[in-house]
Amino acid sequence: MRALLAIWRECVGLFVDDGRLVACVLLWLAACWILLRPLGWSPILLAVGLAAILAENVLRRAAERS
């Protein structure tokens, strides 16, 4: 059981460092799924949103040093 938990933690660790970043990305992908496809908007919006999420995350982390 302990070994399985360790493997699970390793697998989750591949994708999650900062839970907030993961939550924001998944929410944005869900929003794109709901909005972009039916409205036929450009997928560039998808990429721009992801870039904005990363920017907010690292800049907030940099500010937290204080």
């Binding site: 591949l14 994708f15 460092d17 992908l29 972009l36 450009s42 800049l59 204080s66």
Partner: protein, 262 residues
């Protein structure tokens, strides 16, 4: 002319696939090599090499099973699922690489990791004469842990588009051969390779692939078709470099001790 365009068209995917798989695998294999070298030097090479070999065999088997299995799932589903995982994986690496490049969190040090692992191996006491179980288990575990990431990258990048598993596997295999050759030649951790720069590049490539596959899986039309993958890479690169500058500026404005982040 048609053939020429076909080759260019294919290389817009195959080129970044090989590079991403090679660089990501290089980072993971270097980290595994550091521990395997420490295990081998302190507890003997027989157990260290046997553990590494056994793990590599399991990893090859995993790739051989997972890769073809994924091609049987509808491509749209695979692109969204793998694209999401690639994006989370790539953005995690990119975030960490940006913060390290900006000095917000400390850089990874292979020499320090080697010293720490060597001390841990010595603390476990005398080694067995023939087969050292600790050496075998430690080498197996580290090769599996780092290798699973390589398998994920190969399968995820290669599984999103038709015929990309082979280029992704080639990239990973070349990285394995290179790291093995360096390990045999140097007999010490490969600390001269700028690990954070590699992580930076891999983060960009994998994030670009992730966003591209998700767009494709959602049925959205990328402007320029497959060429937009190159545009995504350029966009992530420019934004990441800008973020390093902005983070450095922010950290100078609010100086304090860099906090460690696993």
């Amino acid at each position: 002319m048609v053939l020429e365009w076909q080759i260019v068209f294919d290389w817009t995917h195959a080129g970044p696939t090989i590079v991403a798989a090679f660089l990501a695998s290089l980072v993971e294999f270097i980290e595994a090599l550091t521990v395997v070298l420490a295990v081998g030097a302190v507890r003997g090479w027989r157990g260290a090499l046997a553990g590494t070999g056994a793990a590599l065999a399991v990893l090859v088997l995993m790739t051989a099973i997972l890769g073809p299995a994924i091609t049987r799932v509808p491509q749209g589903v695979v692109q969204i699922a793998l694209g999401t995982l690639l994006l989370l994986f790539g953005m995690r690496w990119l975030r960490k690489a940006i913060l390290r490049a900006a000095g917000i969190i400390p850089l990874h040090d292979e020499d320090a990791a080697y010293a720490k692992e060597s001390a841990a191996m010595r603390a476990l006491g005398m080694r067995a004469r023939r087969w050292d179980r600790i050496a075998l288990a430690t080498a197996f575990k580290i090769t599996m842990v780092e290798g699973v990431e390589v398998v994920f990258i190969v399968v995820a990048i290669g599984g999103g588009g038709g015929g990309l598993l082979l280029p992704a596997s080639v990239g990973a295999l070349v990285a394995l051969l290179l790291v093995t050759a360096l390990g045999v030649a140097l007999h010490r951790p490969v600390a001269m390779i700028p690990e954070n720069t590699l992580k930076f590049a891999v983060g960009i490539l994998v994030s670009a692939f992730g966003a591209f596959w998700i767009g494709e899986g959602l049925g959205l039309a990328w402007p320029g078709g497959d060429w937009s993958l190159l545009g995504l890479n350029a966009g992530w690169l420019m934004m990441s470099l800008l973020l390093v500058i902005l983070c450095r500026h922010r950290s100078r404005m609010s100086p304090s001790v860099a906090r460690s982040e696993a």
